[in-house]
Subunit: 153 residues, 3 copies
């Protein structure tokens, strides 16, 4: 089953991609790779999930923010490629968590993104290399920011 | 108009690239991509722009540091490729801002770099994917550190 | 001399790679590149080197943690490629140091990794582009986390 069919099966509708907030673009292709810009957790109403994880958001809320961010990445990716079925591999995820001092459960937070990618693309295409790290500050105080490299055909 | 002609039109002279401060090189090519190491804001006299943005530097000074860093990246890139006219696309910018607690206007700061890249290369070649994030600390307390991936021919 | 022969000459034995702690894989290949996930400093007994550099660890201990992390990266890379002799270039190292406030000698810390790569692969193959930066927090409070991009044949 392709990624687009799988999204329907999962009952997931992607909102239109959010435009970049500054002088850059959301995605650039080079060869068979797409580089996606850092995305934050924005819901359909345009509201950002912001705050320090471990202080303003607990683990579950942060995991939800990571999942929401992954949905935004998929929306950008579909717009860039026309269809998610063109993805041949999720190569690399770099996931940045807005951590309160002493919070270091980033791997569990970022699974909110990684689990969704594996659900949508399956194990062979969806499993990716990853780093999940703790930032001092993120733009507009978003809870999570994630960038991604994807191989396509 | 090519990037080298555009630099002349803008009245920009690039200083010679600064040598790496440790056991690495400033640029590595693989296939049609150049990976540029993290660069900091160094002026012609070798002076670093250092300090926490939002505390030791204001937004305008930080934006200037991001622009200065971009000039250093261009200098390294020209040395690596022989001419900036060989650049076919600025693929990805990863920009790290040395943030004071609570400062989260990194997108505005990093536009100091992105605006310059678009001025020099134009929209089609110069517009890039990007993340602009806030670090706890940067080497030698520099205000901004930026790395970049560039496609060339 | 190839990298595998050089490891023997250096008296270095690589421990088996450590499995990822969450829903991702340690390495992904695309074209002639391998993307390695963020690795931390784990010794043969499975013990992590953790704490803030400049507070819980001094420069020498942190440099040792960076070297240990590099050994883990090499172990993962050998498992992925079958032999380190297939590496044609270490392209890019992104090294993140868990910094205490005010600590900014990341370049010296990360040379613990870079020096090992150059010892094992030699100057031509081993010298890489790099950023060495300071994080607010890292998973499980590890002292250093490093990811790497490698070109292979």
């Amino acid at each position: 089953m392709g990624a687009e069919a799988r999204l329907i099966e999962l009952g997931i509708t992607l909102d239109p991609p959010v435009a970049p907030v500054a002088n850059y673009v959301s995605a650039v292709r080079t060869g068979s790779l797409v580089y996606l810009s850092g995305h934050g957790p924005v819901d359909a109403s345009g509201t950002l999930r912001s705050g320090k994880v471990g202080q303003d958001l607990d683990l579950e809320a942060a995991r939800g923010a990571a999942r929401l961010t992954a949905l935004g990445l998929l929306s950008t990716l579909r717009t860039e490629l026309g269809s998610l079925d063109r993805v041949t591999r999720v190569v690399k995820v770099f996931a940045m968590v807005n951590c309160a001092p002493g919070f270091n459960q980033m791997p569990e937070v970022v699974n909110g993104c990684s689990d969704l990618l594996v659900e949508v693309f399956g194990d062979e295409i969806g499993r990716h290399a990853r780093s999940a790290v703790g930032m001092a500050e993120l733009p507009m105080d978003v809870a999570v920011e994630i960038e991604m490299i994807v191989e396509f055909d």
